[in-house]
Symmetry: C2
Subunit: 243 residues, 2 copies
Amino acid sequence: MLHSAPVLNGNLPDHPLFHVQPKGWESIASSLMLREYTLGESVIHHGDEAEYLWLVFKGWVKLTRQTPDGKETIVRLCTTGDVFGKAALFAQANYPYHAEVISQHATIGSIPAGQLRTLVAANPPIAAHIMNLMNERAAQAQLKLEHLNTMSASQRLGCFLLGLCHTQLHGPLQIEIPISKNILASYLGMKPETFSRSMQQLKTLGITMDGPHIHLPDVMKLRNYVCNSCSESGDCDIESNLE
Amino acid sequence: MLHSAPVLNGNLPDHPLFHVQPKGWESIASSLMLREYTLGESVIHHGDEAEYLWLVFKGWVKLTRQTPDGKETIVRLCTTGDVFGKAALFAQANYPYHAEVISQHATIGSIPAGQLRTLVAANPPIAAHIMNLMNERAAQAQLKLEHLNTMSASQRLGCFLLGLCHTQLHGPLQIEIPISKNILASYLGMKPETFSRSMQQLKTLGITMDGPHIHLPDVMKLRNYVCNSCSESGDCDIESNLE
């Protein structure tokens, strides 16, 4: 794995992981490496020793697993602000998925596992923060399971879009999803034709898709459509940024 | 909430949570309370402040959530050795589900949130252990999502049974599941009739159900049937004991 130069001056680039206890994270600034990737490049391989924690600064990454009988599942689609490879938090752990860049370009950072574990062991508030992220991540996977029972396909697509709205709760919004519809459909557990039908249904809320650009005329309208069928009732951090 | 007397002599009763760093856990022995519950009793309510972490010593507990439009989802079925209410690890957190006893009797312990958080903050190996349990829990929810895509209903039922075999990998086994088939079917995301058909299909492996008793003539045969369609290939701790 090639890495570009470490981040200069010991200053941490902006990432949600560092928003809690920013002073505590400064000790790893000199070992955080940033690298540019292009479409189709692998970042980590399923089963490899987890030597780094990975932070997405820009772009999209697909995390996948394969069954022995050859079926592929998309575990998660990671984008700006997300973290993957949390196996690096544990000694002698391996990555439980393959990670591949699925946008034209991506900027991804890596923190060596040793430094990370030393920091977490020495800093209880950072350990508590990571525990909290893990808890949210488990809750989100659980919620996704719930949604398969309680939501229609178009509501699940709507929920995914809401996850990209971040903290914006009202008004119009333009989202860019520079990844193929087939990947998105597969991640949402839908056939491509179901995905197309779901997109059609969202048009009744004024939502339109033009290539990678999705236009939402009113985020609140989508929330009303989606969150009434979710036990979190919209009171969620839809996508926890740790995988 | 009524509690029986604390555990005597400061000795901890046996529970997997205490298997890592047992010395560290001794400090909470005097605040661990055990109580007997009966069928239908509520242990915690969705939205209540998370004042305790809950340990199942015996019996079965159903964790559920409801959507605003009235659908109920079973988050998890907990039994001997499981832990629920991990929201107690975090300040000002609320329980994200309702917990109800679904076996005739259950023995459940509770650890006050304050003591738990003090212990975790002061003991990095225990914090790391809990982080590991959370990581496994997230991975298991993720795996359950995968199984909906990669496994048949009878394989998913088989996977649930394997989770109750614990460390036994070979040979015959008798399991007792003293809960209704409808609850089990709902937890597995199946209609009752699909559950019955799945049970019929497992008969081809010699697996039989007689009331709450399930007889598996050969655990390995079931593993071969199930785990070839799972990206963990059977190399999993199917049910992490933390929820």
